[in-house]
Amino acid sequence: MKIVMKFGGTSIADGKRIEQVIDIVHENIRGKNKVILVISALAGVTDNIITAIGKALSGDQEAITRIIEKLKLDHHRLAKEVVKDEVVLDAVLLELNELVEEFKRVIFSVSYLREVTPRSRDNLLSFGEKLSASIICAALKADALKVKWLSGGEAGIVTDDHFGAARPLMNITNQQVKERIGNLLDEGIIPVVTGFIAYTQNDVTTTLGRSGSDYSATILGAALDVNEVWIWKDVDGLMTADPKIEPLAQTIQRISYSEAMEMAYFGATVMHPKALEPVAEKNIPVRVKNAFNLKKPGTLVMEEKLVKLGDAVKSVAMIKDVALITVSGAGMVGTPGVAARVFSILSENHVNILMISQGSSEANISFIVSRESSDRTVNTLEIALLGGDTVKDIISENDVCVVAAVGAGMKGIPGVAARVFKAVADVGVNVRMIAQGSSELNISFVVQEEDSVKAVRALHREFRLDKSEIT
């Protein structure tokens, strides 16, 4: 089997974790598997770099120097702990120093100019992964394995020049990755690739945005036609609900790509939807596993026809920190273009809308936005819409939550909505607003914040998600 394995920042945080990484690699090599490792930055490092950029913008060179020293110290300490061969250790310490020096030059130039462009920001952010990959590579080498670390760009991932959230040019990427990583594998070398970072067509460093390392892993997996992509996390996998809200929540064993994407939209932190795209296209299964608990089977994300549908709903999600905004006025009835105005104003102001609903009476439009943008949104709409004959009132309610039932099994099955709303009604919760996309992968509704936990638990019970045989 050929497997891409991605290790997140917490799964390589200390000596013990890295030893476990080495064990996992050895075990796979013994099992005649070919592995490609994708490495994130150490936990907290990316945040430190972001802090350093902030300090650079205000010209606080002392603070930058402190952060750089800490960066160097932390990585040196970890290298000394995990690299069990003096020659290899000396080499990697040297390499870390060079990387830190390079980082220093770039961040200081930012501090001189007090200006950071998306391009230089990506360049700076890329150092976190380079530092960690170089340590992991050395640790494996000291353990008598043939390894080589490369940046995502060197591995062949080419993106557009949308710095900060670049999208891969998949055809060029496929070809280059096949050549470069394929050659390493043929020579029996284990490639260690930095997650999150890539190159433009002209070899300028870009980053893949949120959840970027997972994306790197799936891009490499798709290019190399691997058998599976394994994402090592610090959780058991995808859950039927947030265990903090529903203690009876279970790990979902199998789930389809589209369900997993849908769950991610509803805040399951496990995988970003775009990260699933490259593998979904080629039907390459993704295993989400817990690096802190190897015995747990994790969640397998795979093509729909191999996933048992089970009951209609596979998980219940909740989005907190949202606000319900209602635009109303009797004059809106039969007046065309009100909705268009509302939403174009929102889009001009970069307000993201999570849910929309308008009854056919047309007397009001309701939608959900994130709570932090609600004051700004209401104010902008008031300036633009009030004072005419159509819109009379713009109201925001901040004490609401979105609850969503997700599952491909509800597709084409009548009565799921009835079950959802009966279950919620039975526990005395009032539903404020409802939306179901025609993909029928989820039913979402809005409730008072104080009712949200009750609603989640009621659905979890109704669809028997607490029974572990859910697959």
Partner: protein, 338 residues
């Protein structure tokens, strides 16, 4: 429109000649004012940002072995890469010799030109066979055209027929004879009952085969063309590695005679359907539409609505291919003035 010509051999020379002869017509009918701002060959380059005099380029070539021999505008030892980087142009015509091992130098030329946002017309199959999906993506991303009509079927508009005349229809499979040289060899063996070596020598004497016929007889040329057809017309992102190739080298005179007795012929057939892409000698009934003689090419498209369409025509030749380059140039002009 400013044009850089890379490689000045049996395609690029007739192309420049056509531009010269058709100047008025191109400008009158298509609003196309071609200015060749640089020509590069093995020996170097000839450059003029305001456009070279067509006869001057051809003269310079006659004068020495390279266009760089021009005393005033010639730049000996200047490479194609340098010209792409330095000379402003709208279109780069890539006409260097085919190399199927790594596609170079054409592959680097095309990539560099696309990255500089130049439209590219390629007549060189090597880079396309190796990296067509990537190159198409690179062109799309940089917002420029990549055209290569001359690479398949020479003057016969195979690529355009499939792409433009069948809009909305879906090509389900492609099957055909894509190499004139091997078709000639097989036809001569059939007609004159000669051994393959002799037929090959005849083909070389008639100018139908290169001094090194390896790419033709091993089926590689056909495979390159199949890759291009599959990518362009069927949206199949394959490269030459995905084609099962066997050439005509194993075909014996005996087999041909035996086929003839059964009212059939052995033809080197390239084909792709839903699944596999392959090039191999296959037996065809004599009355089959693909059973063409001489150096002819013939291709059958099977489409969802129109059914089977077979196109027969002359394959590659300098003038034919040059004509295809002109088609591409006019097409690009139209795209640019949209």
């Amino acid at each position: 429109m400013r044009i850089i010509v890379l490689g000045f051999g049996n395609v690029a020379q007739p192309f420049v000649k056509i531009l010269c002869e058709r100047e008025k017509e191109l400008s009158g009918n298509f609003g196309l004012k071609p200015r060749v701002v640089a020509v590069v060959d093995r020996g170097g380059a000839i450059v003029s940002s305001s456009g070279l005099n067509f006869t001057r380029i051809l003269e310079a070539k006659k004068l020495g072995k390279s266009v760089a021999a021009d005393t005033k505008l010639g730049r000996p030892r200047t490479t194609g890469m340098e010209i792409i980087e330095e000379v402003e142009a709208d279109v780069v015509v890539e006409a260097t010799p085919t190399n199927i091992v790594d596609g170079e130098p054409g592959l680097s030329f095309i990539k560099a030109a696309l990255k500089k946002k130049r439209n590219v017309i390629a007549t060189n199959k090597g880079p396309l066979a190796i990296a067509l999906p990537s190159l198409m993506e690179l062109a799309r991303y940089n917002g420029v055209c990549l055209r290569f009509s001359g690479t398949v079927g020479g003057g016969t508009p195979l690529l355009d027929l499939g792409k433009k005349c069948l809009l909305g229809d879906k090509i389900q499979s492609i099957k055909g004879i894509l190499n004139g040289t091997t078709n000639y060899i097989l036809a001569r063996m059939t007609e004159a009952r000669v051994q393959m070596d002799d037929a090959l020598k005849e083909a070389q004497a008639a100018g139908y085969a290169e001094a090194d016929p390896t790419y033709d007889v091993k089926g590689i040329d056909s495979a390159c063309k199949l890759v291009i057809l599959a990518n362009w017309l069927m949206d199949r992102r394959i490269t030459i590695k995905d084609v099962n190739i066997s050439g005509i080298t194993e075909v014996t005179l005996n087999e041909i005679v035996k086929a003839e007795e059964e009212k059939a012929a052995i033809k080197l057939i390239a084909s792709i359907n839903g699944g596999e892409a392959s090039v191999s000698p296959r037996l065809l009934p004599k009355n089959h539409p693909l059973c063409v003689g001489g150096t002819l090419n013939a291709v059958t498209f099977t489409t969802e609505f129109a059914g089977e369409i077979t196109l027969v025509g002359h394959g590659a030749g300098g003038v034919q291919t040059a004509g295809a380059v002109l088609r591409d140039l006019i097409d690009i002009k139209r795209e640019l003035s949209l």
